[in-house]
Symmetry: none
Subunit: 369 residues, 2 copies
């Protein structure tokens, strides 16, 4: 199968490596920067580079547009103009409505893999980038069924979980679960920075250093977790915010209103409304954190572990041997890195009870949340 990649960065390069390694595909790449094509060739992300976009796609069965999002609509049209009549064309942009409005070609299917957040550039590309990752697809009424199916099977073969969704629903959802968290992370570091600055101005001993405020320690895990994505790659994220502004603006309005309601509750000083609000957040979180679509509910276990090699593998293998499937996990290290808490999600009350017993038998403290 011939696969074309236009824009050979982190995502494009990873598609190339995975398609070559897992499908034996022949991958041709084009990038506006020729040095990027050379790097991709050198690391085996593509079989061949093309000097012009048209040459990359002219004999492709599948073509991916993986450029920065602002360029996607224009590049998709160029690819559709040059690609064969039976080539399925997709993209990997984080917002989908603007791109769909740019074409009604039956060969085009919008796409968005939930992967690659950790960096940029083909140098970080890897074959298992999409293993287990949701890969949204936004087929339209005019989309060719044959071509959609080809794309779906190819993505599953790359290890991803393709999932069809309306483009509008996708964009509204992403505004809320990805773009808003990024905005809030930026707001949080700004607030913290302003507060530290203000404390410094008030200090009789003169300007106060950040280290003084944090007493040489971490400012707490909730802050660290919530600000991990603060100031993410500016060129990528400026494009994302702008391309999805029609969904993000009402989402910001909703967040502003919700914060205003919390402020009102604090002004009133009554415990019960705050408690109810917090309980609602707990049930929302539990509902949203449910990671699997299989019938049973996910149960969360928290395990205290020392931070040494092999601990996570030990737990995973013990559960695996007993037939308990870990559907998701998250590791939060302690401030000094010497130990941590592993959150594990397993499906069904029976498996949860088994998991708790197995982990306890390994000598770790474990509680069901």
């Amino acid at each position: 199968m011939n696969v074309a990649i236009v824009g050979v960065g982190l995502i494009g390069g990873s598609i190339g490596i995975a398609a070559r390694e897992r499908l034996g595909a022949r991958v041709r790449g084009f990038d506006a920067r020729s040095d990027v094509v050379e790097e991709a060739l050198a690391m085996g992300a593509i079989d061949a580079g093309a000097e012009r976009l048209a040459a990359a796609v002219e004999d492709a069965a599948v073509a991916f547009v993986a450029t920065p999002i602002a360029a996607v609509p224009g590049v998709v049209q160029q690819v559709l103009a040059a690609a064969p009549p039976d080539c399925v064309v997709s993209d990997v942009g984080s917002t989908k409505q603007a791109i769909l409005q740019a074409t009604n070609d039956q060969r085009f299917v919008g796409g968005h893999p939930l992967a690659g957040g950790e960096g940029a550039g083909v140098g970080l590309a890897r074959a298992d980038m999409f293993e287990g990752a949701t890969w949204y697809l936004t087929p339209a009424g005019h989309t060719s069924g044959v071509l959609y199916e080809r794309l779906h099977r190819l993505l599953a073969a790359l290890g991803a979980r393709p999932a069809a969704i309306d483009a509008a629903a996708h964009d509204r959802l992403m505004a809320c679960v990805s773009h808003l968290p990024h905005v809030l992370a930026n707001v949080l570091v700004g607030q913290a920075s302003d507060t530290v600055g203000a404390l410094g101005e008030e200090s009789p001993a003169g300007p106060r250093d950040v280290r003084a405020v944090f007493a040489g320690g971490a400012p707490g895990p909730s802050f660290r977790d919530a600000t991990r994505v603060a100031g993410a790659n500016s060129s990528i994220w400026t494009d994302i915010y702008l391309s999805n502004r029609e969904e993000l603006i009402p989402c910001l309005t909703g967040a502003i209103e919700a914060l205003g309601a919390v402020r009102d509750m604090l002004d009133d000083g009554e415990a019960e409304p705050l408690r109810r609000w917090n309980e609602r957040a707990r049930s929302d979180r539990d509902r949203l954190a449910r990671p699997e679509s299989a019938g049973e509910e996910a149960h969360e276990l928290r395990v205290m572990v020392p931070n040494r090699p092999g601990v996570i593998a030990e737990i995973a293998l013990a559960l695996g041997r007993a037939g308990v499937n870990i559907s998701d996990m998250a590791l939060s290290p302690s401030p000094d890195g010497s130990r941590g808490v592993v959150a594990l999600w397993v499906r069904g009350p029976g498996q949860a009870a088994d998991a708790q017993e197995l982990v306890a038998a390994l000598g770790f403290q474990v509680v069901a949340r």
Copy 2:
């Protein structure tokens, strides 16, 4: 050394285990719930339980109040009434101004360890809970230097990093780096839940399940990280929000204004202001995440001080404001008790030089050893 713990939960129990294991302390515990005392005894968090609060503290050298925060001011007063005249009394509440306003007893030092966020209950208590964790202390002008030093050394021996800070600065800082992230986590899950609900109502296929919207996958790491603390223990957090509402309200106002500014930028649709805003977040984040000088060698300073209340607090706060962390301290009174020598250890030659200058500026004789 006799240590009293009033309120034997996750934090109180961990203080007990650590004091017994690391210091050979004899720990007596009191809790309003007798079953909690029994659990603490069974797991070795305390040596003995007391049936009345007064019996727990009557021969203590150090007493910790580790009850829910709403109860702390009242319990601190009961402990001070029952404790010996040379017992240092501290608490572990997440906000500090309200507690300080409840007493001006020279034996009391407000405290707040940044630890224990992962759960509740003595069942999760462990000896290394405070290893490497910042433990804020809020000494006041009337605080006894001898008793402050005893507490500081005990906390360092538990593995913590005691750090003096003004109570007001502490509460403003926590509003910003702990309480606001918790509020935002709740807001985020609420927004996501509302969005999913609205998408369901609009779906021609009928009510849409959350799992369908997330396509069986996680909604992305930024959402998971930002919502990990959503709906944290309602009884603990309702108290925290209310006890710090005077600092949290302006912090929420700041966040609302910041979100409004982002909304305005999106309305305008210009890339450059968004890019600058995101770049500022990046530099704020880098500054706040700056690692500290943990690995550096400890330098010892000796300070001659008069033996009057407030001297140790004055020195600790002056160094704290300037970002100099005291890793250990020891107080040696002169034979007639009129003055004494405080030995201070700080890490790194730069901090040592800063500390020497700051202490000299307070009018005390100081030498580097």
